[in-house]
């Protein structure tokens, strides 16, 4: 494996469109549930262990070589919110374009052909990691990190939170990120039936509310 390839894939500047999404932080800020660095940390921790673990395991499974179409179906069943399914597919399509230009592979081509409107983003990311010669734990790390870095970055803009404080939140979560990535990769090794389905009721509910806002800063 190439450590540099992991840095390229995990880089927030990788052109896959993630910066436009708050990961549910925008409605949480609007409702006053996230208002400072402490509540941001609590939000990120909750998201990491629910939606984050589920997505990381899907990515690890794709990187491990499990059938991406079966994983895409498993992702649908784990995403009851249509707003979040739409977001995941939109991000998956953007990730696919970047991935095919960066690490082309027949597996990416096949998934792009089978899901022209986009597969779930974690599945695409996992397959991208595989095409880049990375492993399941790497893919899980990327997704787990995205799960918390998205909201942290968004909250800097939404609350004018000190970026140093937001980054400190991420740094303090590092040991838990490692554990979630390991847990995700371990589940992926056991096959599709072993994949976690951890979910967060408030994220699902507020995603639908947020999608109906007439004006918002972030797409999701």
């Amino acid at each position: 494996m190439s450590r540099a390839a992991l840095l390229v894939l995990a880089d927030g500047r990788f052109p896959a469109g993630g910066h436009a999404h708050s990961g549910g932080a925008e409605p949480a800020v609007a409702e006053g549930r996230v208002r400072d660095a402490d509540s941001l940390a609590d939000f990120c921790r909750g998201r990491l262990h629910t939606a984050g673990l589920t997505a990381a395991a899907l990515a690890a499974a794709a990187a491990h070589g499990l059938d991406p179409l079966a994983l895409d179906e498993a992702a649908d069943a784990r995403t009851p919110s249509p707003a979040l399914r739409t977001t995941a597919r939109k991000l998956g399509r953007q990730m696919m374009r970047a991935a095919r230009a960066t690490w082309p592979s027949p597996e990416l081509d096949a998934l792009a052909a089978a899901r022209p409107r986009g597969a779930h983003q974690p599945v695409v990311l996992g397959l991208t990691a595989r095409s880049a010669g990375l492993g399941p734990v790497d893919a899980a790390h990327c997704v787990a990190y995205e799960t918390v870095s998205g909201p942290a970055t968004a909250v800097v803009r939404l609350l004018s939170l000190d970026p140093f404080h937001a980054t400190a939140v991420l740094a303090r979560l590092a040991p838990e990120l490692d554990r979630v990535a390991e847990q995700a990769a371990e589940a992926a090794r056991q096959g599709i039936d072993a994949l976690p389905a951890a979910s967060a009721p408030l994220l699902d509910i507020t995603a639908e509310a947020h999608a109906a806002w007439p004006v918002r800063l972030f797409a999701s």
């Binding site: 409702e31 990120c44 909750g46 919110s81 979910s199 009721p201 408030l202 699902d204 639908e208 109906a212």
Partner: protein, 261 residues
């Protein structure tokens, strides 16, 4: 002493427009009673908790098989309260529900709340296999702690397959030992009652419902397959039930209009 018990039931069309129950086996604390059904085509079974259960270490299960064309409502006489049991070092308890719904069959699975009492540790698993033309109405409510009490540890997993493919898969984990952030702004935000209402019906294949908010802490969402899920959090069991009851009434009325109108 921990209890291992599996209650079983099977529903079949009785050949006269109603539903028969050729298998109705109570086990341990799970007593199954045939009760009077308000609708002629449906049989009704009420789960009567003969003892308080489950206690930590117990392994309880219910297996229900709804044969092609049968119609069944299952409810319960009281809330299920997960309790710690006598020994502090007890293992977690498990409660497993396995449901099969055949072609043209209907299952309304509407138990009372699951209450996680302080010190309890329960893993609840519900698995449903739906035939393509089977219909399912399923309610689950998790109440975290009895009145004014901190919650026990509770993990629930709800997995529904339709025609062999995944329709819904959700896992919730709360209380002591659950991964961090479960009570925080992304997951529960301090709410103590969480509920799901799932309605799967082939009628949604041609006429999916749009997503809709049901107040500030509840949403009705169409799944990727022909089903809708209501997800709600509330301060307490009563408020949660109010949200789910309103949604259930509206959903069932909507389907009635769909089928007759």
């Amino acid at each position: 002493m921990s209890v291992r018990a599996t209650a079983r039931l099977r529903a079949e069309p009785d050949g006269r427009g109603g539903t028969a129950l050729p298998v109705l086996e109570s086990a341990g604390p799970l007593a199954l009673r045939r009760t009077r059904s308000p609708r002629a085509a449906y049989a009704r079974v009420t789960v009567v908790g003969a003892m308080s259960a489950p206690l930590n270490g117990d392994r309880l299960a219910i297996e229900a098989d709804i044969a092609d064309g049968a119609r069944l409502t299952v409810d319960s006489a009281a809330a299920t309260v997960a309790l710690p049991g006598a020994r502090a070092d007890g293992e977690p308890s498990t409660y497993t529900v396995e449901l099969g719904v055949g072609e043209g069959a209907v299952l309304h699975w509407l138990p009372e709340q699951l209450v996680s009492a302080r010190g309890s540790d329960l893993r609840m698993t519900t698995r449903v296999r739906l035939a393509p033309t089977g219909r399912l109405l399923l309610r689950e409510e998790q109440i975290l702690g009895r009145h004014g009490e901190p919650t026990g540890a509770l993990t629930t997993r709800l997995t529904v397959h339709r025609a062999g493919r995944p329709l819904l898969d959700q896992q919730l984990a709360y209380g002591p030992g659950a991964p961090g952030g479960w009570d925080g702004p992304a997951v529960l935000g301090g709410h103590r009652a969480v509920g799901q209402l799932l309605l799967a019906d082939p009628a949604f294949e041609d006429a999916p419902l749009p997503a809709r908010l049901l107040g500030p802490t509840a949403a009705l969402t169409p799944l990727a397959g022909p089903a809708v899920l209501v997800t709600a959090v509330a301060a307490d069991a009563r408020l949660l039930r109010g949200i789910l009851d309103d949604a259930m009434r509206e959903l069932l009325d909507g389907l009635k209009t769909e089928q007759t109108g």
